[in-house]
């Protein structure tokens, strides 16, 4: 078990001061307000479409938080995280449809399978550097698309897999309304936020950041580079697969492209890229901005009879971030406001 570092060894992001404390308190209060606002949505006069949009945002935020662990903190540009999303979705779905195993259990099987796949993937790719690692993860994703198309009896082939619907059911983790998913996804985002914070302040987090900054120097400081990368990948894979269980229950269906496709993999990265890589708040802020803008532009697009505007918006947002705010919203736009606070 990786221990948390003592404060005297860890230090803050900036010099501890009353100003930093005030910022930290402010960030916590804003977070708490956002949490309470989202949690109270079912009691406010908003329709299910809005609630469903918030659930979509929260699910993508949690997937972005999972990717942020390996890419943001660990510096490993995984373009193949769809593999773990797909394994989580398909495992939950197949176990439920074919064997009657409830998603509450199925999701853990998906996480274990993801860990095993991550172990194999990591053993083969983690000694590669930079772009070669990224390309290897793309290859893994593409292989999974073909595999899921091939085993038609299990996965439904290219048509995909739809969950049997039981209406409002705790056992099947299904609901006719999006409200239960709102609480489940909010719990995921909150839990993943704390996990990210914990990693950032732990010995493992320090090792991952050292490896991200400079592998050779990290080894010269005594860090076991391969082991550190592997641990980061395993944690991220398990987090992705668990969030994938929620994804499957909410969307009720999955197909090879939606699970393992490259566009899905890129979409998983956007919350962290837009919000700020390697920060705890980044994927949350990035995911919220991303879904809000895409919903608004989709709504506008529908009014004028144009579809798929959200994809265009994602592309534009990524372009703007890369050009003008490479450290994301938290790292660039909110840098001064959050200086000293736990980012």
């Amino acid at each position: 078990m990786e221990a948390a570092l003592p404060e005297s060894a860890r230090g803050g992001v900036a010099k501890p001061s009353s100003e930093a404390d005030a910022r930290r308190r402010r960030a916590f209060i804003y977070g708490l307000i956002a949490f309470l606002l989202v949690a109270s949505l079912p009691f406010l006069p908003v329709n299910n479409y809005i609630i469903a949009a918030v659930v979509r945002a929260l699910i993508f935020i949690s997937l972005g938080q999972a990717w942020n662990v390996v890419a943001g903190i660990g510096g490993l540009l995984s373009l193949g995280h769809g593999v773990f999303l797909g394994i989580g979705c398909y495992t939950t779905g197949i176990l439920f449809n074919q064997y009657g195993i409830p998603p509450w259990l199925g999701v853990w099987v998906g996480a274990v399978l993801s860990l095993l796949v991550a172990l194999v993937m990591g053993s083969m790719t983690l000694r590669m550097r930079g772009v070669f690692f990224a390309l290897a993860t793309v290859a893994a994703s593409l292989a999974m698309v073909q595999i899921s198309r091939h085993f038609v009896d299990l996965t439904g082939g290219a048509d995909g897999l739809a969950l049997k619907f039981f209406g409002n059911s705790w056992w099947a983790a299904q609901s006719r309304t999006p409200a239960p998913f709102l609480y489940a996804s909010l719990a995921f985002v909150t839990l993943y936020y704390w996990i990210t914070r914990w990693i950032l302040n732990s010995k493992l987090g320090l090792e991952m950041q050292a490896v991200r900054d400079d592998e050779v120097a990290a080894a010269a400081a005594g860090v076991a580079v391969f082991r550190t990368k592997m641990l980061g990948l395993l944690v991220s894979a398990a987090m992705t697969a668990l969030a994938a269980g929620l994804y499957m229950q909410f969307y009720m269906a999955i197909d090879p492209e939606a699970a393992f496709g490259l566009s899905q993999a890129i979409q998983l990265q956007l919350p962290a890229l837009i919000g700020g890589l390697g920060t705890a708040w980044g994927p949350i802020i990035g995911g919220a901005v991303m879904i809000f803008l895409s919903e608004v532009t989709n709504w506008g697009g529908t009014k004028i009879g144009v579809s798929g505007v959200d994809i265009l918006v994602y592309g534009l947002m990524l372009l703007v971030v890369v050009l003008y705010a490479p450290k994301g919203i938290v790292g660039s736009v909110l840098r001064n406001a959050m200086k000293g606070a736990d980012r």
Partner: protein, 247 residues
């Protein structure tokens, strides 16, 4: 009285890169507590030797022993944890981290059980005169302070052999003198064996007890600075003239 143990033994080390011979039959040893200099012109093989000793490159032949233990194939992070520490020719710090965190990374890996991590980090910060820079990031520091952080990170936790790769280059005369004082202090106070790689003999003459001279991928001299400065082979191959050597 027993002679000090051999801290590092490099025996018959060879390394080829394709058809290029970077090192051939390099042999020397360093006793515990010694401060030695490794000099040679550009392309002599100093950096390759450094990388081999620190575990980043495998030799084509020969062996490296650390306090009697063969470590030729040992991974670099394990060498560091065993107390074999190094700096880099071009300073390599963790740029996203504060000075304190840079030192904490190494201290957390290498600190013997029972010692307090926070105390060790504070001690290193004090020893390297970095207390006031502790919460700064490397990009905010001068070159001399960056080198100081790198040395602090190198010795944090557990260090018995410190290998400094041109740590004095790029510094002003005063900065270099201060750094030499600090290195000698580490040698005396912590008993750390030191190997200093430099290109210029005059920088090392006052600092080291012994000099190993590399030229054309092999060792051409091994002795006290005075012996080396008067060695005709060294003068012929590297220094040019006796006057130049002693300047």
């Amino acid at each position: 009285m027993n002679a000090p143990a051999v801290a590092l033994e490099v025996r018959n080390i060879a390394r080829n890169f394709g058809g290029v011979v970077a090192l051939r039959d390099v042999t020397f040893s360093v006793r515990e507590g010694e401060v030695i200099g490794l000099i040679g012109p550009n392309g002599a093989g100093k950096s390759t030797l450094f990388e081999i000793v620190s575990g980043n490159i495998r030799p084509s032949g020969g062996r490296v022993a650390y306090f009697g233990r063969d470590c030729t194939t040992m991974a670099s992070h394990l060498r560091r944890r065993a107390g074999m520490c190094r700096t880099f020719q071009k300073v390599r710090l963790f740029e996203s981290m504060t000075v304190r965190q840079n030192i904490s990374v190494a201290a957390s890996q290498c600190l013997p059980k029972g010692r307090d991590l926070g105390e060790e980090v504070n001690n290193i910060l004090a020893q390297m005169r970095l207390e006031h820079q502790a919460e700064r990031r490397p990009s905010e520091l001068t070159l001399a302070d960056r080198k100081r952080v790198e040395i602090g990170r190198a010795i944090a936790g557990h260090c018995r052999l410190l290998m400094l790769d041109e740590s004095l280059s790029g510094l002003t005369h005063d900065e270099a003198e201060h750094l030499i004082d600090e290195i000698m202090q580490l040698n005396r106070a912590r008993g750390i064996t030191v190997i200093v790689v430099e290109r210029v003999l005059s920088v090392l003459a006052a600092m080291v007890q012994r000099l190993v001279v590399l030229h054309n991928a092999t060792v051409i001299a091994d002795g006290t600075p005075s012996e080396v400065a008067h060695d005709p082979v060294v003068i012929e191959a590297y220094l040019g003239t006796k006057q130049k050597a002693l300047r």
